[in-house]
Amino acid sequence: MEDMLFYDRLQFAFTITFHYIFPQLTMGLSLLIVFLKWKYLRNNIEKYNNAAKFLMKIFAINFTMGVVTGIPMEFQFGTNWAKFSELTGGIIGQTLAMEGMFSFFLESSFLALFIFGEKLMGQKLHFLTGFLVFLGSWASGWFILATNAWMQHPVGYEILDNGKYVLQNFSALFSNPWLLPAFLHNQLASVVTSSFVVASIGAFYVLRNKQTEYGKLFLKTGVIFGLISSVLVAFPTGDWNAKNVAKYQPASFAAMEGIFETEEAGAEIVLVGQPNMVEKKLDNKIAVPNILSFLTYQEWDKQIAGMDQFKEEELPSNIPALYYSYHIMVGLGTIFIGVMALALFFLWRKKLYTLKPLLWTIMFLVPFPYIANLTGWYTAELGRQPYLVYGLLKTSDGISPTVSSGNTLFTLLGFVALYMLLGLLFLVLVGKTINQGPKPQTH
C-alpha cells in the first residue's frame, strides 16, 4: 500500500509536471499573439502580422504536446485515483467536464481556423479567431484552477453517509475565495513564461544578427509584457495568495515560510535557510524580523502560528520540499523583476539591442520561468498534503484499490520513456521553427 501510494503520487507528479510545461506557454503566448494581431489591425504594418503568425506556429506545437499529455491527466483520475474519483466525481467532475466542453473545444476549433483560415476570413475575422483561442486557453485555466481550488479549499458540498461528496451549491465552486487569486496568479505567471520565451527568441535573433527586425520586435514586446506580468505576479496576486494560505491552510503557511517556532511578538521573513527536520529549526538562517507579520496582516507585531502549534498529522508531509519549492519560486520571481526592469531601462535609453551581456542573460534565462511556475504549482500541491481534499480526504484514501504497485511502476516507466522521446522531438521542432524565423524563406 505504501509503495502504491508512492508510485501513484510519483506518476501524477511526473505526468503533470511534463504536461504543465506546455499550457503555461500557450496561455501566455495567446495573449501576446492577440496583442500583435491587434497592433497589425491598428497600423497595418505587415511585420506585426508575420510576428503573430510565427508565434502561432510555436503555439501550435505546444498545443499538440499539451493535448497529448493532457488526455493522460484526465484518464489518471480514473485509473490511478479511482477512490478519489468515485467520492468527489460529482463535484470536480463538473468543472472538469466544463473545461472539456467550453474551453478545449473553443481553443482547438479556432486554432485550426487561425492557422489555416487567414485568406478565407479576412483580417478582422482572423483576429477574432485568435482572440477566441486566447479566450479558450484562459477559460481552460479557469476551470482547472476551479477544480484545484475545490481540493485546496472545499466549498458548496455535503458528505453523505457512504463518504461521497455531493454538490450542494454550484455557484460556490466559482465564488470559492481560493479561486480568483490563484487564477490571476497562475495566468500572470504564464504571461511571464511566454514573455521570457518571446524575449529570448528576440535576443537570439539580435545576437545572431538574423531576422533582426523581428528580433527587436520580440525583445520589445517580451520585455514590456515581462516586466508588467512579473511585477503583478508578485504584487498583488502573489501576496493575495500567501494571505489565503495563511488564512485557510495555516499549517502549510508555517511550513512554506519555514517558521518552526511561534514568535509572540511578530514573525520574521526568512530569505535563506535550510530546514533541519531533526532539530526542528532552520540552519544557516538569514531573516528580517517582523516583516512576515506585516506582509500577512499589515501589523508588525502580529503573531503567526509556527509549526509547533500543529499536530504532526496536520503538517504537510514533506516540509523541506514545500519550503524549497516556495523559496525557489519567490527567489526567481524577484530575479525576473530585476532583469526585466533593467532591460526596460536600457530599452528606454535605446541601448538594449547592443548590450550583449544583457541579451545573453535574457536568452539563457528562459528555463527559469518554467521552473518558477512548476515550483509554484508544487508549493500549492505539497502544501495541501497529506490531503487530497484539504482537511477532509487523505491522499492515501484516494488511490485505486484494485491496481497493484507493480502495474503503476510499469506504466510510470513507460510514461518516462515516452515523454523523454516527446521532449526531444519537441525541442527539435521548436528549434527548427525558431531557426526558420518569421520571415518566410524564398524557395
Binding site: 466525481g89 467532475g93 454550484f170 484494485t402 522531438l425
Partner: protein, 357 residues
C-alpha cells in the same frame, strides 16, 4: 436525469467514434494500401488536419462520464488499467506520427512516423473494439473468488488475458476470443470508414482502388457480424431481452444493417459522400445497438455476488446532474456552432491545404 446524461454521453461517444474513427481508419488504410509517397502524404494530411479537433470529443465524453457517473468511471478506469494506459500511449504515438512526418524531408524520418501513425491507429481500433466486447460480455465485478467479493463493491481488475482465453471462464481477461472478434469488427469497420473518408477528402491516386477494397472489407464485415451475433448469444444470453420488450429499439440494429448493405453498392455511388454516410451509419448503429441491448446496465457483472453497474447505481446525485444540465445545453449549442463553422471552412479536398509547412 440519469437517462438524459446516459443519452448525452452516448451521443458524444458516438460522435467521437464517427469523427476520430475515420482518423483511425485512414491510419489502417495508410498502413496496408498506401504505397506511393504522394498517396501517403495526402492520406496522412486527411487525418492530420482534423485529429486534434476530433480528439476533443473523447475529452468531453471522459469529463461528462466523470461528472455524471463517477462510480462507473472509477471502477472501469481502474479495472481496465493496463489497456487504458496502453491506449494513452497509442494515442500519443499516433498524434506525433501525424504531426511529425512532414517536418523533415528524410525518407527514413517519414517511414518511422508513417509506421507510428499506421500501427497505433490499427491497435487503437482493435483496443476500442475489445473494450466494447468487454462491456457487452461483462466482467467479474468485485473480483469475486469462491463466492466472496475480494474487493469492496464494484471494483475489479482485469489482466490482459486469462490462460483459458475464453469469455466463459470465471475470470476472463480483457482479450479473449469473443472480445477479439469484436475487436476485428471494429478494425474492419473503421478501415472502411477511413477509406470512405480518404475518397471523400482527397484526390489520391488510389481512390479508385479503395472502392474495391471497401467492397471486400464489407464482405468480411458481413461474415464477422453474423458470426458475432451467434457467439454474442453464448456470451451474454440476455442480450436480446431489451429488443423483445421494446421492439422500437430494433431501429438501432436496422441502422447498422442499412450501412452494411449500402456499402455493397460502393462502386456505383456517383457522389463521394455517400460511402461515408453509410459507414457512419455502420458505426452509429453498432454503438447504439450494443448500448440498447444493455440498457440500463452499463457494465454487466458475470458473478452472482455483485449486482450489475447500471446508470442508476453509478450516477452522481440529482442536484449536480440537474445543474450540469443547464450548462450542458449551452455547451451543446456551442459545440454544434463550432462544428458547423469549422466544417464549412475546412470543407473540400485537402490536397491543396497547407499542412506541415
Amino acid at each position: 436525469m440519469e437517462v438524459f446524461w446516459y443519452i448525452a454521453i452516448a451521443i458524444v461517444l458516438a460522435v467521437f467514434f464517427i469523427l476520430d474513427g475515420y482518423d483511425f481508419g485512414t491510419g489502417i488504410i495508410h498502413l496496408f494500401f498506401a504505397k506511393k509517397e504522394k498517396d501517403k502524404e495526402v492520406i496522412a494530411k486527411s487525418a492530420g488536419l482534423f485529429w486534434d479537433s476530433n480528439e476533443v470529443w473523447l475529452v468531453a465524453a471522459g469529463g461528462m462520464l466523470f461528472m455524471a457517473f463517477p462510480t462507473f468511471y472509477a471502477s472501469v478506469f481502474s479495472g481496465f488499467y493496463l489497456p487504458l494506459i496502453i491506449v494513452l500511449w497509442l494515442i500519443i504515438f499516433r498524434a506525433i506520427g501525424l504531426e511529425f512526418r512532414g517536418q523533415f524531408k528524410y525518407q527514413m524520418w517519414k517511414d518511422i512516423w508513417d509506421k507510428s501513425f499506421g500501427v497505433s491507429s490499427l491497435l487503437l481500433a482493435l483496443f476500442f473494439g475489445i473494450a466494447l466486447g468487454n462491456i457487452v460480455r461483462g466482467v467479474n465485478l468485485g473480483g469475486v473468488k469462491n463466492g466472496v467479493s475480494v474487493y469492496e463493491g464494484h471494483y475489479f481488475f482485469l489482466p490482459l488475458w486469462d490462460s483459458s482465453f475464453s469469455p466463459l471462464s470465471d475470470t476472463p481477461g480483457i482479450i479473449d476470443w469473443f472480445t477479439l472478434i469484436i475487436g476485428l469488427i471494429s478494425v474492419v469497420t473503421l478501415a472502411i470508414h477511413g477509406a470512405n473518408w480518404v475518397i471523400l477528402k482527397t484526390n489520391a491516386s488510389i481512390n479508385k482502388k479503395l472502392k474495391g477494397v471497401i467492397f471486400k472489407l464489407n464482405i468480411a464485415l458481413a461474415v464477422l457480424t453474423v458470426f458475432s451475433l451467434f457467439v454474442w448469444q453464448i456470451v451474454n444470453p440476455n442480450s436480446l431481452d431489451n429488443f423483445m420488450r421494446k421492439p422500437y429499439l430494433i431501429v438501432f440494429p436496422l441502422i447498422y444493417f442499412t450501412g452494411l448493405i449500402g456499402l455493397f453498392f460502393i462502386k456505383k455511388f456517383k457522389k463521394e459522400s455517400q460511402g461515408f454516410v453509410f459507414s457512419t451509419l455502420l458505426i452509429l448503429g453498432g454503438i447504439t445497438s450494443s448500448l440498447a441491448s444493455l440498457f440500463p446496465v452499463i457494465l454487466p457483472s458475470i458473478n452472482s455476488v455483485n449486482p450489475h453497474l447500471t446508470i442508476y447505481n453509478t450516477a452522481a446525485e440529482n442536484y449536480g446532474l440537474s445543474v450540469a444540465l443547464n450548462w450542458a445545453i449551452i455547451g451543446f449549442i456551442l459545440l454544434i456552432v463550432y462544428f458547423i463553422v469549422q466544417k464549412r471552412l475546412m470543407g473540400g479536398k485537402v490536397d491543396k491545404m497547407d499542412y506541415g509547412h
